[in-house]
């Protein structure tokens, strides 16, 4: 299908003002899949900022989507604070061991220095280079893991969730040091020209209760959002898994856009918080984007648009979470093409009739 008339930045600006656009914004959340665009191994990203930037820019140019997100895995910040991360040869990294094993060790944790610790300097370099290359035409964001999620990597998830009930003060102590670390990193991300993009996977109601999110997740997220707003940028907040019961609390962080996992319903989100936040989502990354055929991708995109094209604060058609590394290029193309086919303004009648057809 023919390429787009507007650049992503032009498209977002016009969409924000309620002016005509060529199509809805579309973000297949490409992380390590970018390695496949360059034909390299995922592990080559480790400690190599220029290569991450090159791959992310190449992926953006290849597919023509609307946001670049510099992201390899959720552990970068925890690693810089002492967690051990395992880097398989050609797959996404995973946590090998938390930084500490007991509550007594929390006091030994220090906020990371983003210009020195772990792989943070290389990620910042990737952000800077990608922003320099294409920052005038496409928003370039840097992944920022939320304090509660980083805390789970610092002391271990099971440990942390037990502590939420047994020793809430210890959890706050962990979240505070993870927050201080995230705050400094957020500032460094902004200095590269990029905007921090918040992910707080463990805050999902698949893991903790809404009450616990309000106690241990939301306050720290709000402080980060306030900081980023203070630097004049809008913030997207992604929480994986089920989130229905916490959408309002997520909006209360002040985030401008909520990225909704495919475990939750876009239409319900629109009804609940659509007056307050833009919504982003939620084509299933595994079942559709990885395993489906282009026709299923198209149908899934149309279902998302049907549910939330009229969201008062707008819709970004996106995958429900980061794409699996081996997602076929044809499916990413199909996602963009489906959005181009729907075009703008959205013909609601056409989408509705598909339901009965």
């Amino acid at each position: 299908m023919s390429r787009d008339r507007l650049t992503p930045i032009e498209r977002f600006a016009a969409y924000q003002r309620g002016e005509p656009v060529d199509r809805l914004p579309c973000v297949p959340i490409v992380g390590n899949t970018a390695a496949r665009v360059l034909g390299i191994k995922v592990s080559e990203f480790r400690g190599n900022g220029p290569l991450i930037a090159e791959a992310q820019v190449a992926a953006y140019r290849r597919f023509g989507y609307d946001v670049i997100r510099i992201f390899t895995d959720l552990y970068t910040q925890a690693e810089a604070m002492g967690a051990k991360v395992h880097y398989p040869d050609d797959e996404t990294a995973y946590l090998a061991a938390p930084a500490i094993a007991s509550v007594e060790e929390i006091a030994s944790l220090q906020p990371a220095n983003p210009h020195q610790d772990g792989n943070l300097p290389q990620h910042l370099e990737a952000m800077k280079l990608a922003f320099q290359a294409v920052g005038k035409e496409v928003p370039v964001t840097g992944a920022l893991t939320g304090p509660f999620t980083t805390a789970s990597f610092l002391i271990g998830t099971e440990n942390l969730v037990r502590l939420t009930l047994k020793n809430p003060a210890a959890v706050h102590q962990l979240c505070e040091v993870a927050y201080q670390s995230a705050l400094v990193y957020a500032g460094a991300i902004l200095d590269t020209g990029c905007t921090p993009s918040l992910t707080d996977a463990m805050c999902s109601t698949t893991v903790i209760s809404p009450r616990q999110f309000k106690e241990f997740g939301q306050p720290y997220l709000k402080r980060l959002v306030d900081f980023i707003h203070g630097r004049g940028r809008a913030v997207t907040l992604h929480i994986c898994g089920k989130t229905g019961p916490i959408w309002e609390a997520m909006a209360d962080t002040g985030a401008d856009c909520l990225s909704i996992d495919n475990a939750a319903d876009l239409k319900a989100a629109k009804v609940k918080v659509g007056q307050r936040v833009r919504l982003m989502g939620n084509v299933p990354p595994a079942e559709i984007m990885l395993q489906g055929a282009p026709a299923q991708v198209r149908a899934a995109v149309r279902a998302c648009v049907r549910k939330a094209y009229d969201n008062p604060k707008g819709l970004i058609v996106a995958s429900g979470c980061s794409l699996p590394v081996e997602t076929p290029f044809a499916n990413i193309d199909a996602m963009l093409d489906a959005v181009r086919e729907i075009a703008w303004p959205v013909n609601a009648n056409e989408l509705e009739t598909e339901l009965t057809a």
Partner: protein, 218 residues
């Protein structure tokens, strides 16, 4: 069953649901001291409590933290009551080999499934996390298991599940086991495609699935 015994079972069950490890331990000791049948105390006390906790989990009154603390209480009670089981009662249970496939080190979901299966009377061989496909096969054969339960959280590792089934076929032992799969990126259609016997979306559902597959009364 005497009123007093019934009251104790109820108190045990309440202590588990109430996430009270110390109370569960004390009540279990009390049961032993009073000569109450250990199996009955486990079934009508600890397991009953864990089942109630599982229901709260399904209705989203409880979340993972609550369920873990309930299981801590249950295991504290089991540690005390199990040595008092009659020998035969320890022998008849179906075995389930469970683990997280290679490449994944998150095992919270697998642990919840294990807890609920254990509470339902199954004997669990927990291989842990980051397990290569061949090990599932070897351990299941060795343990003479009825069920192999595979868990993953990452799409990149889903092929490892298919590999386990292929290896079972290759070794001509596929028919000996029911293979069930679960975890974030897994769906019924994926389970069908790789030839698994079942898929469960969560820990309580996994218990129902296993019971249905091996024909044990719920």
């Amino acid at each position: 069953m005497s009123n007093q015994t019934e009251t104790l079972f109820r108190a045990l069950s309440d202590a588990v649901v109430g996430m009270d490890e110390d109370q569960t331990r004390q009540l279990s000791i009390q049961a032993v001291d009073h000569g109450i049948d250990a199996l009955a105390a486990i079934e009508h006390g600890l397991v009953d409590g864990m089942n109630r906790a599982g229901k709260f989990f399904e209705t989203e009154e409880y979340f993972i933290p609550e369920l873990l603390l309930c299981s801590d209480a249950m295991y504290a009670g089991l540690d005390i009551l199990r040595p008092h089981l009659k020998h035969a009662e320890n022998q008849i249970r179906h075995k389930i080999v469970i683990g997280v496939v290679e490449g994944v080190t998150h095992d919270i979901g697998k642990n919840l499934v294990k807890i609920m299966l254990e509470a339902s009377g199954f004997e669990i061989v927990d291989l842990g996390r980051d397990i290569p496909p061949q090990r599932f096969v070897d351990e299941a054969v060795k343990a003479q298991a009825s069920v192999i339960a595979l868990s993953t959280l990452m799409t990149t590792t889903m092929d490892g599940m298919a590999e386990v089934i292929k290896l079972l076929q290759k070794a001509n032992v596929r028919e000996r086991f029911k293979v069930i799969v679960g975890g974030g990126p897994i769906s019924q259609s994926f389970a069908n495609r790789i030839g698994a016997d079942g898929y469960a979306a969560g820990a309580p559902a996994a218990v129902k699935l296993v019971k249905q597959l091996i024909g044990v009364a719920a």
